[in-house]
């Protein structure tokens, strides 16, 4: 399994554990109202941090290869995608509950804007980097 895929899958598992841990804590009586603002972020830890990242990691590993010399496309783009996805998810987790209160300082607003851009960028880079690996097999 290539290193990038290992990083994707292990990071995905980590986000899943963190998300489930936060979810459990959010159910503790007395903490529910505090955590109510975190629920969209926790949900996206699972859907983006875990599921999408697992898909990216396994696709990078398993999709048909280009050539023996360059089997999976641009490795650098894969690492940038990984960094953008995980940084975006982390920044979203720390800023989303606070950014929604627009009376507070703009710091969290800018962090959330960066999170939005990085997650979107990760999706676009993944598509660009793996699109050509999906060429249908030519019939002999």
């Amino acid at each position: 399994m290539p290193a990038l895929s290992r990083w994707y899958i292990r990071s995905g598992i980590l986000w899943l554990v963190i998300a489930l841990g936060l979810w459990v804590v959010s159910e503790i009586p007395g903490l529910q109202s505090f955590f109510s603002l975190w629920m969209p972020s926790i949900f996206h830890l699972i859907t983006v941090g875990w599921i999408t990242q697992l898909i990216f990691g396994v696709a990078w590993w398993m999709f048909p290869r280009y050539t023996k010399e360059n089997p999976r496309g641009h490795e650098w783009m894969g690492w940038v995608t990984f960094g953008a996805l995980n940084t975006g998810v982390l920044l979203r987790l720390v800023s989303e509950p606070y950014a929604m209160d627009h009376s507070k300082s703009g710091f969290f607003m800018w962090i959330l804007l960066l999170a939005a851009f990085l997650q979107w960028l990760a999706a676009v880079l993944f598509i660009l980097n793996t699109w050509k690996r999906l060429e249908p097999r030519k019939k002999k």
């Binding site: 950014a99 929604m100 939005a116 997650q119 999906l134």
Partner: protein
């Protein structure tokens, strides 16, 4: 990679792009409050990401990678699989547009039913490919 899998995964990428773009705009609005109208796109975001992206990619990959039959057609008769692919995506389009039409509960239900029928058809083409040859570990 078989043609159907190529189609399904590339279509899933299209949904990923659309869903991620809507999602990013939703976050931008959470941050700035400047695009309030974007909240109406939340059902489209959810449908694109869950059914459009994840479902198409998972089923397309399964069609490619599951064990094949010894006799042709190696992946089973193509009609259920292609029909399933068309119906799932038709259902997604119906469901997305139904959210934005007034009093469209019946259309929404029809779209969901189309998705379900599509998934059942597709899964029926995969079901017997889930097997282990005798005397093997996997």
């Amino acid at each position: 990679m078989p043609r159907l899998s190529s189609w399904m995964i590339r279509v899933s990428y299209l949904y990923l792009f659309i869903g991620a773009t809507i999602g990013a705009l939703l976050l931008v609005n959470k941050a700035t409050g400047d695009i309030q109208w974007i909240w109406v796109m939340l059902p489209a975001h959810i449908e694109c990401m869950i059914i459009g992206f994840i479902m198409n990619l998972v089923l397309g990959t399964a069609y490619w990678i599951f064990p094949r039959y010894f006799k042709k057609p190696n992946r089973g008769h193509p009609v259920p699989a292609w029909s399933g692919f068309v119906l799932v995506n038709l259902g997604v389009l119906i469901v997305v547009f139904a959210h934005y039409l007034p009093s469209a509960e019946i259309l929404l239900g029809a779209g969901r039913m189309t998705e379900v029928i599509g998934i059942v058809l597709f899964v029926s083409s995969l079901w017997f490919r889930v097997y282990s040859p005798p005397h093997s570990d996997g």
